[in-house]
Symmetry: C2
């Protein structure tokens, strides 16, 4: 039977993975206020922004300034995304809470087109990354796996290929005195389905029973929560999510745009299933409403609109159908 | 392990359960054209409208006219909803394809408030219904179970209560020469979660292993597809769905409004999981786009916007992230 965890950890990625897709660039003060609301809701790991080329992602050009303006809460990790060593240096300089991350894509076509290198080239570049991480005392590495549940270009990705790629990275890490501490599976282009999530997670579990697995799921085709539940059923207890489902732009005609699962929707269903998130549903709903106001378009999250609380008998005044 | 069916049947409820929620009343011609597109997409059971009080549901006031204007396709059942015997008579007169249906709610509060009678009163009213069904030669009865996965007023509904209610109806049916041929479980107010769907479906399966179960799921809190998958995993092979997710009005500020799962999104994930629906994804997408134009607001369905087809190598011209 299902092996649902007792409690899970959600990293909030709305300020980064969400806002980078929005037409409107938020000000530093707006971003900081949103991040504060997210911390108020109980989120203890928040991706603040990314250190990438400002010409490519103008929404993230001010990430240094956002980090400088944050009033940090104790117990909250403020994360950043980077894609190259220059970005990592900027993240360190800005004061981001750094973890050691490496990234591969299971699809060679996606890897070449979107990351600009093959899997072998990614492997060859690893020592440069590890040198920097070692300098920061980081030996536990999280491996991000893009297109883990299929690819727009290559279609279905066999689980065996994914496991073999992870195994090669794990061997290299071991050989160099590092440890594969997490695999972060991303449904990058939103083709995942629950059966496939079960298969990929199951194959990794079979090979490395103790290795923590994280899921980064987009709701591109309406399957995000169902895919997350498939992960939960296999005991996965680490997830990314974005407040209000930020990042989707489903109604702006941006074909294929893929928002993450909405933090408040996922937290709601977990709570209904008896799985603790440590999050405050009222504060999440407030943050989602605020995010919607900031971006100026309807967000796809549902619970913040429909409500998460059953009215008590005394507050019920009219029947609903 | 999961007991996924090889193929499933979807009843399209958009023209009824969807359009009854829309601000804009469609014309008879518009409804007929949409219904034709749905039949073109391979849907073989379509709920055309309801025979209810026109003052309460003005969007459905012309259901007689819609039935009269339909150009019926062979192999397609054109269904209607009714809530009382007068409605059933109108449905028969209009030429709707009639099945024998009874309805109860697991929540007594919901039953009294929304249906206007208790469970015992529903039982007491059964003979009147059965007389009409018998007159039409119908002996196989589908029992609709409202608030099967929780209620806004009463919260969690124990599976035991649901099973006991179904058992009482089944006994009465047997005693009067009818047969309980289907249980149609409705997440009427959208509080369901996948664990609960598993529990309720499992409890019914345990008691009546051969009894077909149907699911009518609303996506009020983002869990509709996940709940459907939970049903699929237990072998449920009958579902309601509405094109484009019609009926939700999630962005119109209508708090608590609950659209059904989107036909094209559910058909997509089924197809990705190797479960046949008999539906044409291109025609479904076209119907969803058309429905969106008709109602004049963005519909919540996702696949018709994001696309269901991976581009072939030759059509890929730019990278997506």
């Amino acid at each position: 039977m299902a092996d649902y965890p007792k409690h899970i950890h959600i990293m909030e990625v709305g300020p980064r993975d969400g806002l980078q897709m929005e037409a409107r660039c938020l000000s530093v003060a707006e971003k900081v206020a949103l991040i504060d609301m997210l911390a108020d809701a109980g989120l203890t790991e928040i991706e603040v922004g990314s250190f990438v080329h400002p010409a490519r992602v103008p929404q993230m050009a001010d990430t240094d300034a956002v980090f400088a303006a944050l009033s940090r809460r104790e117990g909250v990790d403020y994360r950043a995304l980077w894609l190259n060593l220059r970005g990592l240096e900027r993240a360190v300089a800005a004061g981001a809470d750094i973890t050691a991350k490496l990234s591969i894509a299971t699809s060679e076509t996606f890897s070449r087109r979107n990351v600009g290198r093959s899997f072998e080239e990614s492997l060859a570049a690893m020592p440069d990354w590890l040198e920097v991480y070692a300098a920061h005392g980081l030996r536990d590495v999280s491996l991000g796996v893009m297109t883990a549940f299929g690819c727009t270009y290559e279609g279905h990705v066999p689980e065996g290929r994914t496991v073999a790629m992870i195994a090669r990275v794990a061997e290299r890490l071991d050989a160099q005195g590092f440890r594969l501490a997490e695999v972060d599976l991303a449904d990058t282009t939103g083709w995942g389905n629950p059966l496939q999530v079960s298969r990929v997670v199951g194959a990794i579990r079979e090979r490395w029973p103790e290795l923590p697995i994280k899921l980064h799921l987009h709701d591109t085709r309406g399957c995000g929560i169902a895919n997350a539940i498939a992960g939960l059923a296999l005991g996965v207890d680490r997830f990314d999510a974005s407040i209000g489902g930020l990042g989707g732009c489903p109604f702006a005609g941006l074909k294929g745009a893929a928002g993450n699962i909405a933090t408040e929707d996922f937290a709601f269903v977990c709570s209904e299933m008896g799985i603790e998130t440590g999050l405050d549903p009222d504060a999440l709903a407030a943050a989602a409403r605020h995010a919607e106001t900031l971006v100026g378009r309807p967000l796809p999250g549902k619970v913040f609109r429909a409500g998460h609380r059953r009215p008590t008998a005394s507050t019920v005044t009219s029947a609903s159908g």
